[in-house]
Subunit: 561 residues, 2 copies
């Protein structure tokens, strides 16, 4: 029955599914006409900008990418005749890499439509299940009938995704073989920072092997941490944040109506706190913890607990025994002392007997010992018991929002004993994550992704490689958006791992001097005490707010959010 996942069957089942299993909103989205940057409406050429460098350590990047380093950016500019020498049909592959983000299907639709519109007779292959599909040669030919049911739809289910990487010489060889077998002119890699780094390595490898297959990346991640001057945002961030903000807004109205709960909301986003910051700007919670600030200020878990507890106490004096608190998923990773404790625990648990009396704890350094004793019992147990197959503590399994509720409870009890707190505290925990990765993309993400895909098609058609599709001027009307590509090497720096330099696209963290954080920081004290909750409501596809950009993007673009 495994063949029921195969290309042909899927295609026919899609047609069936489309007839019977789409909601009214899904169907209406299928037929939603996307606005289009004006440069993409007419004939255009691809112009080169100045030579590029790297985000850091250009000498090392130049060594790692001898064929690609220094490539100029590319811009699509209107001309009368279109791309010169561009009549030859193309064979292009596309792959989705890493976690889901709303809009991925529209990137593919954009590539498909580019080929249909500009290079008729071309072929688009979708590699199935992520980069493994390239290595194993698992693909499906994307036809009009196949692509249509996914237009403006969430998810990555058209060809699915995967987290494999093409890294070893053998894997590069497999990728080469597949590309040769399919006679590929180009490959589009839709992914985050790691996947785009890989895309660049693949572009370098293919170029170095004199292969004709060119590689273009596209910026995807709900986390919002793949961005630069030329790549203003990663797709999916807008939709995911708006879905979480809808839920947070509802929980805020509930908190105010009920008057007796503190809602601790953990939000997806392990490495950077962009999602948490954006949701805060959309909804005005009483407390928002930004991981980058915690790290910059070298805060301890006790500092974070005290910060939250102080606000709860102030609110109790004003008669408010309720509130909403946002926490980034990756908070623990930002607190140095927690990392230290976990490292020591891993060591001890691997080599020592853990006695009931707790003598083993004396092997912890003083600071770690104190921190361990400070943690609620349930978290202590979780740290001792939940191990991955290598015996390491599973940090990802720690429910930070529940941990903080318990730590705040303990601190409030102390203050109550001391007469410094007279309120009532009931914590409610939430984790918003999977709900946001596959929602129907907003009008912004739908349009942005389609343009990214169309641009990727154009860049490959123009013979470019090692670029990331870049659509800019996003605060202007869609007609005025700019379209082009940025050298992936220009986004890169190196990290030293096992004595070797590895190229990386550095994750874009929340900048504490950036406009979004500064706006948040200027308002949070008021939000803490006064209730300035905003309920953004569900994402609308028609009418008011349906074309609104997110605050982070607007503020970073210098527009007023």
């Amino acid at each position: 029955m495994a063949t029921s996942n195969g290309g042909t069957d899927v295609k026919s089942s899609r047609t069936f599914k489309l007839a019977s299993f789409y909601s009214e909103v899904q169907t209406s989205r299928l037929n939603h006409a996307l606005p289009f940057p004006s440069v993409l409406r007419k004939p255009f050429n691809v112009d080169d900008g100045p030579k590029s460098s790297a985000a850091g350590n250009p000498d090392e990047i130049a060594k790692l990418f001898p064929n690609l380093f220094g490539q100029p950016s590319a811009s699509l500019v209107p001309n009368e005749t279109g791309l010169s020498g561009s009549d030859q049909k193309l064979k292009i592959g596309v792959v989705l890499s890493g976690g889901q983000a709303p809009g991925g299907h529209n990137v593919i639709s954009g590539i498909f439509d580019y080929l249909q519109d500009r290079v008729p007779g071309s072929t688009l292959y979708g590699f199935k299940g992520g980069p493994a599909g390239i290595m194993k040669g698992k693909y499906v030919e994307l036809t009009s009938e196949f692509v249509y049911p996914y237009r403006n739809q969430g998810g990555f289910d058209m060809i699915c995704s995967g987290r494999d990487k093409i890294e070893t010489p053998d894997q590069f060889k497999q990728a080469q073989e597949t590309s040769k077998k399919l006679d590929l002119d180009g490959l589009v890699v839709i992914g985050g920072d790691d996947s785009n780094t890989n895309a660049c390595l693949l572009a370098e490898n293919f170029r170095g092997s004199n292969m004709k297959t060119r590689v273009i990346g596209c910026p995807k991640t709900i986390d919002g941490d793949l961005k630069s001057k030329e790549v203003p945002t990663s797709f999916g961030f807008d939709t995911a944040c708006k879905i979480y903000a809808e839920m947070i807004g509802n929980v805020m109205t509930d908190a105010r109506s009920t008057g007796k709960y503190y809602h601790f909301v953990r939000l997806m986003g392990r490495a950077a706190s962009h999602i948490t910051l954006e949701c805060a700007l959309q909804t005005h919670p009483n407390v928002t913890i930004i991981g980058e600030e915690v790290a910059a200020k070298k805060q301890t878990l006790k500092n974070v607990t005290d910060y939250i507890t102080d606000i709860i106490c102030k609110r109790a004096e004003l008669g408010y025994n309720y509130g909403v608190i946002l926490i980034p998923e990756g908070l623990i990773d930002f607190i140095p002392e927690v990392q230290q404790l976990i490292a020591e625990l891993n060591e001890i648990l691997a080599h020592d007997v853990v006695d009931e009396a707790g003598a083993w704890k004396n092997k912890l350094r003083d600071q770690s010992h104190q921190l361990f004793d400070f943690l609620p019992e349930a978290i202590q147990e979780q740290l001792m018991l939940e191990r991955d197959p290598h015996g390491n503590v599973q940090v990802a399994k720690i429910e930070t929002e529940k941990m903080l509720i318990q730590m705040v409870e303990i601190e409030l009890e102390k203050r109550k004993q001391a007469g410094a707190y007279k309120g009532q505290f009931k914590g409610q925990s939430h984790f918003f994550g999977y709900e946001g990765r596959c929602g129907l993309p907003t009008n912004f993400d739908s349009t942005y992704c389609y343009a990214l895909g169309y641009a990727a098609g154009a860049l490959l058609h123009a013979g470019k490689t090692g670029l990331i599709s870049s659509v800019g001027n996003l605060s202007a009307p869609v007609e005025e958006w700019t379209v082009g590509g940025t050298a992936l090497t220009a986004l890169m720096d190196v990290e030293r791992r096992h004595g070797k330099f590895k190229p990386v696209i550095k994750k874009a963290m929340v900048e504490l001097e950036g406009a979004p954080f500064l706006k948040f920081a200027s308002m949070r004290d008021e939000w803490a005490i006064k209730n300035r909750y905003i309920n953004p409501g569900p994402i609308q596809f028609h009418g008011p707010a349906s074309n609104a950009l997110n605050h982070t993007l607007l503020l970073e673009l210098g527009a007023q959010a």
Copy 2:
């Protein structure tokens, strides 16, 4: 600072809030013009129907409600002159009782507008914080300026709610005193089954004391378990289900895209499984557990676990190692053996020493002992450790979705050992509850609630008491909706408690012979194996699907969902 919650300050802060702290969607909802049943557009009279009886034990209900029993239903019918003898200004109070449900503010807006439109110069008081506000005389005068910012908004924050009941002779006396002090002609109680039972007792008490204050109920609860022939649905159910279904649909797309998670989604709704059933009809999950069916078939926890595990195994054979499973919040309450075990545990833990060796377990009856041993260790611990102040096991704290994941894991491991299962299983747990109680009401809930409120105003104006506001013919266009009131005693039965008869409005449970369950039952086997997921998308206020009714209501009304 407690006065900052007082009427005047709130009023002025609302005006400020309205200017600055509404999202674009919230603002657009404020100005959304509601469609209106045609009977409410013109002059009308209130006609009586035939004499009513009770849902059960009419003789006992007649004894408990000597003044009200047998009251006819009331219908608003167009006439030329309007209500006769109806020029006198009215003083009306309104109270929100129990948990939040989207649309409560519109009920109040409807009452307010009725008075403005039809009895100018009248006064509407909002009792604050639920029935306690009546007893303590805490209220605010609702003015146009005060009510406006809450039109079509979610939450109960206009006057907040509470769970107190007016039950004892003293409490009835307090309610009488407040009503006399404010010279109330009427009181509208917006609440669920318990609150409407209380409303009827209050109506009986006031009538029996020859007071002029009349009492009208309104059907509120997201759980959907307050309904009858005359009261086709409780408000809030439509919005809450659509919010949960949006999230479930997103999780389904994620499951299909990722291909490696089983999402176990627990949904709010303790007593009845209407929410779970409605969400299943909207989204087509692989497994849906309906508490009423579990109870009717006297299923054990092992039966439920096996049912889920069987489907997971079948799906694994088809190559699907992912899926979505819906579980009602109250599942455990539907399983007799679990209730029995908990009762025995409460008894043992109150009186016996719990020894580490487990000798105490021999005090459990055989079936309970077996069930206890069948439970995952973490749940065993939870049962032993988490107690309420009376020493009882806190069933509500058991995260049923996590418990089922663990039980399914254990069962799958057994089958794997026996060679009957070769798949991979990763469970992800979710609880959707607080997100849905205070969302912006759908167009349906907005319109329905406004009509309920307008009707309540009309019923009080016509001198009625002990009725519940009833708006019917809901599958027809809004213009054709019927408007009236149903005798609360007609919804009642008695329960024997401590040797006395207590009146109750019986919760409307999921009917296993009803159209919604039958439709679900006819399709679930297909949903289990084939993937028929539907993503309803976010609630829309404009355009496609913005006026769609929920499946439960449509099916119960005999229309095709």
